[in-house]
Symmetry: C2
Subunit: 218 residues, 2 copies
């Protein structure tokens, strides 16, 4: 499946780095831990970090029902959600061709509140499943009261695009003969061993879910 | 030095997580590799990932002189720049108290183009110095032509705030007796060994600058 580029998602700069296929877009959305959610209030821009989860063709994000940002979005303000993964530093032979390898996705659209508690619980489970598969079944489920004070919004993945920079530096032809090391230093988010809560009951060990998280970010 | 909270930077949610001291703000800006730059064009929000560098009380960012975003900013559009560092996953005993440890900074303001080639070169050097201290002296310096096609913008760090979540999960008192592992899984960006460009001249080894990058992200 692919989304056709709109006037906003068509890349005006370096179109070769752009992608509109959903496989590329979904993989980036699913790997990124945090999204940056942008909106305009009275013409002024706001960008706030937020957690997100994709379920099929829908992107969910959530927060406190009292959040100024979420209230503005729930009342129909257009949104722009961007996620960015850093894959490495690109060291070229000249200053200006240094770069960063990254994968990013931008999603434009209008958010809708997720109204029923059942849908809201399903969305919250999706947040947890993608970060910590299996964790939902280990922990206390949300109460109705907890579901009431959580605001969940959804946005359809219709107007979206990806931008990817990968591979080696691209130097000017004349510079390849310079006596300068050039290449990539890969970067990725890695997990360290879990730190138990100081109030953890004696004898409780990290579950396979927690250990699985470590191997996924090894 | 501290910046007084404005109507926009005063936190309406969880004010205990907020900070306005420049030491906290600067440390986050300096550690983050990428910023998310937001602006509104015709009332619609745009959020684009961008590199940034702080020099004293000024935040610089740059891009192609042809970039739509940078042109809009250079002509006076208000900006919001947000950087976010992920420090770990917070595993609570109940679903809704799961969280992420993070440090983020939000900067509001109006950008100004950096006009003279000298200032532009100084800003580009600042970008490189913070990512790869010492690299500037190893590589070919920018030509005048390269400096002309690069757009550099600056924004003063006057209206800015930080938001930080750290430490263990905060569970409901009744949940601390549950038989559920709880704690933190630390996450951080780590570097892997450098990958030489396939066109690297024979015998060139990574410089101490490159090796230093590895130890900083070990």
């Amino acid at each position: 499946m692919s989304t056709a580029p709109s006037a906003r998602t068509r890349l005006s700069r370096k179109p070769a780095r752009g992608a509109h296929d959903r496989e590329t877009i979904d993989a980036i959305l699913d790997e990124a831990l945090v999204a940056h959610l942008g909106l305009a209030i009275d013409g002024l821009p706001y960008v706030v970090p937020t957690l997100h989860a994709r379920v099929g063709d829908t992107l969910y994000f959530h927060g406190s029902a009292g959040s100024r940002t979420l209230r503005a979005l729930a009342s129909g303000a257009p949104a722009c959600i961007t996620v960015t993964l850093i894959d490495g530093l690109v060291l070229a032979r000249s200053a200006v061709h240094h770069s960063v390898n990254y994968r990013s996705v931008i999603v434009f659209g209008q958010a809708s509140p997720v109204d029923t508690p059942d849908e809201r619980q399903a969305a919250l489970q999706a947040f947890m499943d993608r970060l910590l598969p299996g964790r939902w079944d280990e922990v206390r489920a949300p109460t109705n009261k907890e579901l009431l004070v959580t605001s969940v919004l959804s946005i359809p993945l219709t107007e979206t695009s990806a931008k990817v920079r990968s591979g080696p530096p691209l130097d000017d032809e004349d510079d390849y003969s310079l006596n300068v090391w050039a290449g990539i230093v890969p970067l990725a988010l890695h997990a360290s061993p879990p730190i138990p809560d100081t109030r953890l009951q004696k004898g409780i060990q990290p579950s396979p879910v927690v250990e699985g998280l470590l191997s996924r970010h090894a």
